[in-house]
Symmetry: C2
């Protein structure tokens, strides 16, 4: 299964997926890495790993529909059957999602349904939770609310600031996102209701 | 520190707190166990552990204020400085809470702020989360929303039903609730904003 990865920044999750894809026997490969910004550090990292890259800037398209159509075209041109959002800072419309039904994944740095949205490590610390974590989920039109594929939990320690907590969570992101891609490529994920069953 | 424990049912968390209190060097003791129902199985368990028990039935009081005043009187008569809700199936008003400011704890079988309210194991399974757990928190007028003292995380396994998940969580409840009582009795909990700091 070929995977298209959408980034906006340094793309550390993109790298973790690409490294997994490069390991022997992994059932997926990276088709293309697309950034919505030409200065995303992840573009260089992708290129240095020998991956195809593309830049699709919203400002260079008439509207969101045209922007998303371009994304979709490039993903299809690279035969991508799975789309992984990896720090991609844009909401995708249901129009785009319809091009990849049940085939768009995202990772979010909290134990959803706690703390959707932005700045979540700060929210978690201010809320005083003792555990946070990360969630790989299917993307739906509602932000951070799609069916959950995998999660990892980490402790929130006394004295944590958002960046320390973010680093602890990121370690787990780099573990579960490639694992979710593997499960997807192996055809082992079934959405039932709003839960995801993993077949053995 | 003397602890009053409020129950409505079998009171398994009451037993775990009472057992901890009975262990050498534990900085708290049970003052009284109060049930809002005369048929709560926990009453017999408390009595068999040699604890004082009382029954305060809402139906035998003119209104909620009178009911809560009676609870408060009994707790004070037993010199209780800390109130632990242990499966107590009633919402306490801010009038009652004012009698024990910052001294009422509850335990909830989810990783709050996910899944407040009732029937939470079913909600967690239907939502498809991979981790759930339990939360000891200070009680405020808003249900299941007070500052978090301790949490424990447990995996949600494929094939779990609500009762299997509840049993896995309950094991952790019996661990963290006594620990929260200990921290409270040792004066190590400070509420800052909506988070709780634990001093060493």
């Amino acid at each position: 299964m070929r995977v298209g990865i959408l980034i906006s920044g340094r793309g550390s999750n993109m790298v973790s997926i690409a490294e997994a894809c490069a390991s022997p026997g992994f059932p997926a490969s990276v088709g293309v890495v697309i950034s919505d910004s030409p200065v995303a550090a992840g573009l260089d990292r992708a290129a240095s790993m020998g991956l195809s890259t593309a830049v699709v800037e919203p400002g260079e398209h008439a509207d969101r529909t045209a922007f998303e159509r371009k994304l979709s075209e490039i993903l299809s041109a690279h035969d991508c059957e799975l789309v992984c959002l990896a720090g991609f800072m844009r909401i995708l419309t249901s129009e785009f999602l319809a091009d990849f039904p049940g085939r768009v994944l995202n990772i979010h740095p909290s134990l959803l349904p706690s703390f959707p949205g932005l700045d979540v490590q700060r929210k978690a610390i201010e809320h005083g939770v003792r555990f946070s974590g990360c969630t790989v989920h299917f993307v739906t039109a509602e932000m951070d609310a799609g069916p959950i594929v995998l999660q990892a939990a980490v402790p929130v320690e006394s004295g944590d600031d958002p960046s320390i907590l973010a680093a602890r969570i990121l370690e787990q992101e780099h573990r579960i996102y490639p694992e979710a891609v593997r499960l997807m490529a192996e055809g082992r994920l079934q959405i039932e209701g709003r839960a995801v069953q993993i077949s053995p």
